[in-house]
């Protein structure tokens, strides 16, 4: 215990954060155990996702300066608990309600932007999701159902802070209060359970399903284009990293919107890659020094990883989403191909931002590369574990 405390060192976070951390850990445990039965039920894909989230939290704690580690650990445990709860609660309306306090909890941490500015995105997402879900289930004319379907789809997009609901990105903002908290950590949990909740109860009429699918595919393509071009062209490096998340999300949204087995698998793998690879890399990019003149091969391999090339995590996602798109309508594959080719351009820039990591950063990077390799080489095993 003494060694543990020495590792974390003072200053200790406020008692409320410790309490929240403990609550987060307890909630994660309860969700994993499925207690109380009927109220919390963690589907298999979310279990795998949670398994990928834990190392991301560990990495965040590990990379933090010594004095901040306990605070980061507590924040991470809260995040983990929130993720588990959002994925476990079967009632989508309750999920929407819970998004509000989670959003405030994230926004209440100290940061440069005001609480109200930071909570707008999650609040809008909660409202869209909740109202959309309510309209979907309520009797009424057909247009009301379509409106509800639109709300649910837009709610998911807003939770992720994706186009058109992008949040402002500031350089130097702490990871746990930045876009990373939603785009890179909490939203993937919701993205994975949403299609199952929608499909399980056969709640959608064909008309409503069409709306959900069209909105997700359309906004997925928009995010893909925005991310691929933005990560390459934008002046701010922090924004470039955020835009690179949009590329992964673009593939995932398209995969979800196609309502097809390969598409869902692509979305599942994309979300795992966001949590296991992209988010840790974004965290590493905050601490790694700038690239020198002679880059090391490890940093060069990162370009390959970030471009989505084999044998890393991006490849099976691209293969599956292309397959799903081609099966439905081949012209859908054209924007996908363009984004895949463009990803090569911004990968160079992002990898340069990671520089030539040394010490802790290099170990972290090696772990991320290994995770990405596993995702890229044996996606079948992960699909099996997730039941997809």
């Amino acid at each position: 215990m003494t060694a543990l405390r020495a590792w974390f060192r003072d200053p200790r976070p406020g008692w409320w954060l410790l309490l929240a951390g403990a609550a987060g850990a307890a909630m994660t445990l309860l969700c994993l155990l499925g207690r109380p039965p009927g109220t919390l039920l963690l589907p298999p894909p979310s279990r795998v996702l949670l398994a990928f989230s834990a190392p991301a939290v560990a990495l965040m704690v590990w990379l933090a300066p010594r004095g901040d580690r306990l605070e980061r650990l507590c924040a991470g445990l809260v995040g983990l608990g929130s993720q588990a709860v959002l994925a476990s609660v079967p009632d989508l309306l309750a999920v929407a309600v819970l998004l509000v306090p989670v959003g405030f909890a994230v926004a209440a941490r100290p940061g440069r932007r005001s609480l109200s500015a930071r909570v707008r995105g999650p609040a809008l997402a909660a409202a869209l999701l909740g109202l959309g879900w309510a309209l979907l289930r309520s009797p009424g004319p057909a247009w009301l159902g379509r409106l509800g379907a639109l709300g649910v789809a837009l709610g998911l997009v807003a939770v992720g802070g994706l186009v058109p609901y992008l949040q402002e990105v500031e350089d130097g903002e702490p990871a746990e209060t930045s876009y990373l908290a939603w785009t890179g950590f909490l939203a993937p949990a919701l993205a994975l359970v949403l299609p199952f909740r929608l499909l399980q109860g056969h709640l959608l009429t064909p008309d409503e399903g069409m709306v959900v699918g069209a909105v997700l595919v359309g906004l997925g393509a928009l995010n893909l284009a925005w991310g691929a071009v933005g990560a390459w062209r934008t002046a701010s490096l922090a924004e470039a990293w955020r835009d690179s998340f949009l590329v992964d999300w673009g593939f995932a949204l398209i995969g979800l919107g196609l309502f097809e087995r390969d598409g869902l698998a692509a979305a599942y793998l994309a979300m795992l890659a966001v949590l296991g690879v992209r988010t840790p890399l974004a965290l590493l990019a905050r601490t790694a020094p700038a690239a020198g003149t002679s880059p090391r091969p490890l940093a060069l391999v990162l370009v390959v990883l970030l471009a989505g090339a084999a044998p890393f995590s991006g490849f099976p996602v691209r293969l599956l989403v292309l397959r799903a798109a081609t099966e439905l309508a081949w012209p859908l594959a054209i924007p996908l191909l363009m984004a895949m080719a463009l990803a090569a351009a911004h990968a160079l820039r992002l990898a340069r931002a990671l520089g030539s990591p040394r010490g802790r950063d290099a170990i972290g990077l090696a772990v991320v590369l290994a995770v990405s390799l596993v995702l890229g080489l044996v996606p079948g095993i992960l699909r099996g574990l997730g039941g997809i």
Partner: protein, 575 residues
């Protein structure tokens, strides 16, 4: 034995990579010592096992997948030929190019992956392999220096993405992308075009300056030559596979002249660039594109002779990829090496190109004209080699005399033994991929033996005449070498900067070495690029289109923007 031929070579290269890397980390710089024997051994094992095993095609499928693709490998005559071409080039490079242990390990790994990719049993696995190869090659290139890596990375990324789509379309249309299981009808023209685009991007066989030319103009040629040695055969393997997928035919008669024309244009453009180049290195950079163009010309004809000629030409290309980086920057030996690389008799390059042109002449009147274009390009290429003796060398690089001797020896030996190669290697590939029964009137045959090769339009006594020429040439070279004292004519370090008028380095030092032919469209690309960059929205329309303002509103988290978008979508949906 076929199983050994299939699995041992890539495994040997992968093991060499691991060993070299490990030794490098322990401080033992033994990269070349480990990787070069591994490459030669792999080539030997492959050749012996394939022949000893009775040259029986073999396919091995594993019950699990890799990266979402079915995992399986196969070995047949075409894969054997392509793997041998790759292995010989790699063996030359590994043996005679200096590499530190890390770079040697990476190069060996690239080789192993390339062999695996060539042996892949499905198109999706080939796309996976090409993607891995592209990434590793990019890493090797960027590790050395940053010049020209962007263009290479872009082209190769586009290649694997297109190939991936082709594989996916095949899976959707035909239910599988496993080569031996795809229904013949699944290979439609659009899929083929995707596959061909990927192949041509990968092989750099396009009528403009591709990555193949660019990587050889870099200051450090080691990784560039590795990329060429690995990826050019890989690119052509895709077109060969297309024959297998279509049961000896491509899915449209018009595709043959289209790609053959593209090949002729590629050769012509490469020759044009070579004769206008400003340095020796820039001339040499066009040797492979010129050969790739002629190989494409032969391969696209669709006749057994064309396919066989393309395989032989590709063999020449592979050896050129291994030989050219070993050449010194100047001197008589360098010029002779350049001449062999640009198709001077009696080397394998000459024999392969000759058969490609003959196949084009025999395939029909239109392709005959393309063959003539190929001959013209070939001649211009040789003229460019002659002109190159006046061009400046960018740096004093002495090359590898032993490597040069081995590489040139292999080229000459293969050229002299063209008849044997034709009957033992090229003809089986042609009969497997483009059986005579699958073609109409344009069937032509290739006869080979110890004396030479025979085709309906004439024969080339490679063994008799070519052998005599080679012996006389080597003897003359030895006499010249004996008469000259070493170090009598040192190579002068001249800095030839691309884009500047080339200055002579021989007797006419004050004169500019002008291109032999100056086409009016030489600077067309630069002019177009300048014009495109200068395009602006007229000032009176600027207030209408303000994408920057929209982007700023979208990225700053403005609630009014969110509300507007939501409202607009709601209106669209509820209408």
């Amino acid at each position: 034995m076929s199983l050994a031929a299939m699995l041992v070579p890539p495994a040997l290269l992968a093991a060499a990579a691991i060993l070299s890397w490990s030794l490098g980390h322990t401080g033992v710089g033994a990269g070349r010592v480990v990787c070069a024997p591994a490459a030669w051994l792999a080539a030997g094992v492959e050749a012996v096992a394939w022949w000893w095993g009775g040259r029986v095609p073999l396919e091995l499928s594993l019950p699990f997948g890799l990266a979402g693709a079915p995992l399986g490998v196969k070995l047949d005559s075409s894969i054997f030929a392509l793997q041998m071409i790759t292995l010989l080039a790699l063996a030359l490079l590994f043996t005679f190019q200096p590499r530190d242990p890390g770079r040697a390990a990476l190069a060996s790994l690239v080789g192993g992956v390339a062999l695996g990719t060539l042996a892949a049993s499905s198109l999706s696995l080939t796309a996976f392999g090409l993607s891995v190869c592209s990434g590793l090659v990019w890493t090797a290139l960027a590790w050395d220096e940053r010049t020209e890596v962007g263009a290479t990375w872009g082209a190769l990324s586009l290649a694997w993405v297109l190939l991936l789509w082709a594989a996916v379309v095949l899976e959707v249309v035909g239910g599988t992308s496993v080569y031996s299981a795809v229904p013949v009808t699944a290979l439609q023209a659009p899929v083929f075009l995707l596959l061909a685009a990927a192949a041509l991007l990968c092989a750099g066989a396009l009528p403009w300056r591709t990555w193949v030319s660019l990587v050889w103009r870099r200051a450090r040629p080691a990784s560039g030559s590795l990329a060429v040695a690995v990826l050019v055969p890989l690119g052509f393997s895709l077109l060969l596979r297309a024959y297998a997928l279509g049961a000896g035919q491509w899915p449209g008669g018009w595709l043959h002249p289209l790609l053959a024309g593209l090949g002729a244009a590629t050769a012509l453009a490469a020759a044009g660039r070579a004769q206008a180049a400003g340095s020796v290195r820039a001339v040499r950079a066009e040797a492979v594109p010129l050969g790739a163009g002629l190989t494409l010309l032969g391969l696209a004809l669709g006749t057994p002779l064309g396919v066989a000629a393309a395989v032989l030409s590709l063999g020449g290309l592979g050896l050129v990829a291994g030989l050219v980086p070993l050449l010194p920057e100047g001197g008589l030996v360098a010029s002779l090496g350049d001449a062999l690389a640009f198709g001077a008799p009696p080397a394998l390059v000459f024999g392969g190109w000759l058969l490609c042109v003959q196949a084009a002449l025999e395939a029909g009147p239109v392709t005959g004209l393309m063959g003539l274009v190929g001959v013209f390009a070939w001649s211009v290429g040789l003229a460019a080699v002659a002109r190159a003796t006046w061009l400046p060398a960018p740096a004093a690089r002495s090359g590898s005399p032993v490597g040069l001797a081995v590489g040139a020896g292999l080229l000459l030996a293969a050229g002299v033994g063209l008849g044997g190669l034709a009957s033992l290697v090229a003809a089986p590939v042609a009969s497997d991929l483009a059986p005579p029964g699958s073609h109409g009137a344009a069937v032509s045959y290739l006869g080979g033996g110890a004396v030479g090769v025979t085709v309906p339009s004439g024969s080339w006594p490679a063994g008799a005449l070519g052998g005599a020429v080679a012996i006389v040439g080597v003897v003359l070279l030895a006499i010249v070498g004996l008469l000259r004292r070493p170090g009598r004519e040192p190579i002068r370090p001249l800095s030839g900067v691309e884009g500047e008028p080339a200055r002579a380095r021989r007797s006419v030092s004050a004169l500019e070495v002008k291109p032999l032919i100056e086409p009016p469209w030489r600077d067309l690309r630069d002019r177009l690029a300048t014009r495109l960059r200068g395009l602006r929205v007229p000032s009176q329309y600027r207030s209408l289109v303000r994408p920057n303002a929209v982007a700023a509103a979208a990225t700053r988290g403005r609630p009014w923007f969110w509300a507007l978008v939501t409202l607009a979508l709601a209106l669209v949906v509820t209408r």
